[in-house]
Amino acid sequence: MSDLHHNTLTQLAAGLRARRFSSVELVRAYIERIDGYQGALNAFISVTREQALRDAEAADRALAAGTAGALAGVPIAHKDIFCTQGVRTTCGSRMLDNFVSPYDATVVAKLRAAGAVMLGKTNMDEFAMGSSNETSYYGVVRNPWDPALVPGGSSGGSAAAVAARLVPGATATDTGGSIRQPAALCGITGFKPTYGRVSRYGMIAFASSLDQAGTLTASAADAALMLREMAGFDPNDSTSVERPVPDYVAALEQPLAGLKVGLLKEFFDKGLDPQNEARVREALRVYQGLGAQLSEVSLPHLPLSVPVYYVVAPAECSSNLARFDGVRFGHRCENPKDLGDLYRRSRGEGFGAEVKRRIMTGTYVLSAGYYDAYYLKAQRVRQLINADFIRAFEQVDVLIGPTTPTPAFALGAKTADPITMYLNDIYTIGANLAGLPAVSVPCGFVNDLPVGLQIVGPHFSEARVLAVAHAFQRATDWHTRTPPLVEAGR
């Protein structure tokens, strides 16, 4: 077995350019790994072998001709929420089990234009609704650090695949923590850009005012390399932002001396596992050693993020998922007796339990008589949370805290009570409500399980947030640790 998978995405891109190995070799090596671990981890829903090899051959020709893009020949995977032309796109749902997208998501098209080679589509919580990858119609994903544990969610397949080095980088989406939480639980780097920075076109919608595409990679440098290609204005997304895309890779090497780091006071609460807290405090000392100035910052409304989210996200979800009607695409029930029956049974059969729960919650909070009490109330409290962040960023450059309250938990441990599951995202949801860029980076271990450190910056401070994460990864080696199964070749 080749050992190419020990390279980072950045190293692979450079190696391909220097012609140390070909894209075909690389793609074959990674597909062998994907096949070898699929039974144990279930990280993929579809593996696109033939197309990947054809694309790799084309990338090798472009590399030989000197016409190659920045990611030429680099294997990646897409979360199965991104539409891929001619390839099944399921969103982890029975509803879309037979859906073959007639077009590419902008993220998919941009990464292809940069030369990246798609190896397949990764498993995920159904319609990105979940924090453990247990709601997928295609089965649970297992955590490469311990297969009895969850990988986190909703981007659990992308996170497990990158952690097990089945692919050097993957796309993902983050509505309430779906990139950062699985990154923390799987010991990798998960980056969510500012709302509007990356196009949502062709990314199946869950909660449109919160959804944002980002990356799961082994390092912040790899995230910068992918993001540089993914970001940018897209006329097909009405909330895409018209702003130039900085060179995130060139901006990685910034000295941290004088950087003002705010400790998120509300995050260091009794809900936080003391051992997780210890790892996060050790990481803060690393930043002090790099010249950063630490101060405590209070965001008094931040603890209200979860209740706000569980009004806003289901409301937007119930509206977005109304399009699945059994008529134009998606699952259709057998022998409908009339149009109403066709809608109700197609949706009842096509959606899983958690998706139905959120559609009904959203339907209720938007219904006549409840709209003001729930939806408008939540949007007002959201404004207060946003104002807390704005005030905090007048004092500090970045906010730092834990990504999750605990390391990865056991499969099945939180499925009985939805609210216990929702509270997993207690530290990540704030950045979605306010639309801020945020990253989770590995910062140590508790009982041999990885712990994540979260860094949040002001709107459009992607370059700064990635540089702050990169500086930590220059000073520590937590991000280079891989699960025992990768080392054992099992």
Partner: protein, 114 residues
Amino acid sequence: MYDFALVFSVLHTHCEAPMALTREQIASIAVLARLDLTSSEIPVYQHSLSSILDFVGTLDAIDTASVVPMAHPLPGLSQRLRPDVVTETDRHEEYQQNAAQVAAGLYLVPKVIE
């Protein structure tokens, strides 16, 4: 002012005696949402929706009388318009390949009007 402990404590208090939605309310939400529920699903959603609504009820304690609701994370961004020109080509045959039933370029559904 508010801390996670408060959110947790409210949650626990409420979980013991959740504001109960009735079976009929769940059934009517399901009708609005166009979801067919089995009779065994109704009590499950009765319980979980009641606890979710109680949980989000923690927001009632917050004074928001003078706060403008936030609909969008990037304030000040206005809806972009484009010139009114045709930019799409007709690809309906391709799109209809994902439909369960089509004929003559039309989507077929059960008869609506007798």
